[in-house]
């Protein structure tokens, strides 16, 4: 079965990103396909490579990166939400005249159409939020 995952909240503040990760991992381990993980609202904050959580706690961004590497997951950060919150890749840096990027490896910034497409292409859309 083909799942799509929507994550509406950032790392640590709410459990949404944790639950989304555990669900995605469990689905993949059961042999399901995950068409895309779409990060919306504060969810875009999962996609920064600049976090350094305490060593005795999980590293939420790196967990997503590892899962993406292992299963070739498509991790998409919504561009409109990212602009409001300061998640920037090379293209956005140039386009918005910024002086730095903070996007994490394996994440890509794209439009809201990617969420709609995920809803169309997948069998189930799962929403995780606050």
């Amino acid at each position: 079965m083909k799942f799509a995952i929507q994550v509406n909240e950032g790392p640590y503040q709410h459990q949404a990103s944790d639950t989304a990760y555990q669900f995605t991992k469990a689905a993949l381990e059961k042999g399901h396909e995950v068409f895309r993980v779409f990060f919306y609202h504060d969810g875009v904050n999962n996609g920064t490579r600049l976090t350094t959580p305490p060593q005795d706690d999980r590293h939420i961004t790196n967990r997503w990166i590892d899962l993406a590497e292992k299963y070739k997951l498509d991790l998409v950060v919504c561009v409109a939400a990212a602009q409001r919150r300061g998640i920037v890749d090379d293209d956005e840096m140039k386009r918005q005249g910024k002086d730095a990027t903070n996007i994490a490896p394996q994440f890509r910034i794209s439009g809201l159409g990617q969420l709609i497409e995920a809803g169309i292409q997948s069998d189930r859309l799962m929403v995780f939020g606050d």
């Binding site: 609202h41 969420l115 809803g119 939020g129």
Partner: protein
């Protein structure tokens, strides 16, 4: 995918429901969910929007955000018709609890009983919650 889900062009048409349960301005969900609906319109899906709980406040006439210095996005609901998003449903129980009537809303809506709304949800294929 069954046959009546196929458009002549070969694209899939699914029943998308956007469930809005939050008041405007207190959080960004109302604004950003509207952005999804507008982008999603280009995909020519079968779109419905449901306003439940504090979500009914999103449609309140007369919003004036000058003094809070936030963007007033309520006129956008009136633009939905141009995007062929015409199925707007309001939960009667939520509306009544808040002392609102259809005349309070910026756009025409269909007011649904609990049973009708439950039926509407059951009839969907993709449900996005904000």
């Amino acid at each position: 995918m069954n046959e009546d889900e196929m458009m002549e062009e070969g694209g899939t048409i699914k029943k998308f429901l956007y469930v809005n349960r939050r008041a405007p301005y207190g959080s960004v969900y109302a604004l950003e969910s509207l952005e999804v609906v507008l982008i999603g319109a280009a995909f020519e899906q079968d779109v419905s929007m449901a306003f439940v709980d504090d979500g009914v406040y999103q449609l309140k006439k007369g919003q004036d955000t000058k003094d809070v210095d936030m963007k007033n996005f309520s006129p956008t609901y009136r633009a939905l018709e141009m995007y062929d998003v015409e199925k707007l449903y309001v939960d009667k129980a939520s509306m009544d609890a808040r002392g609102l009537t259809e005349e309070d809303f910026v756009v025409p809506v269909e007011v649904l009983s609990t049973e009708q709304l439950a039926e509407l949800m059951e009839d969907q294929e993709v449900i996005l919650s904000f």
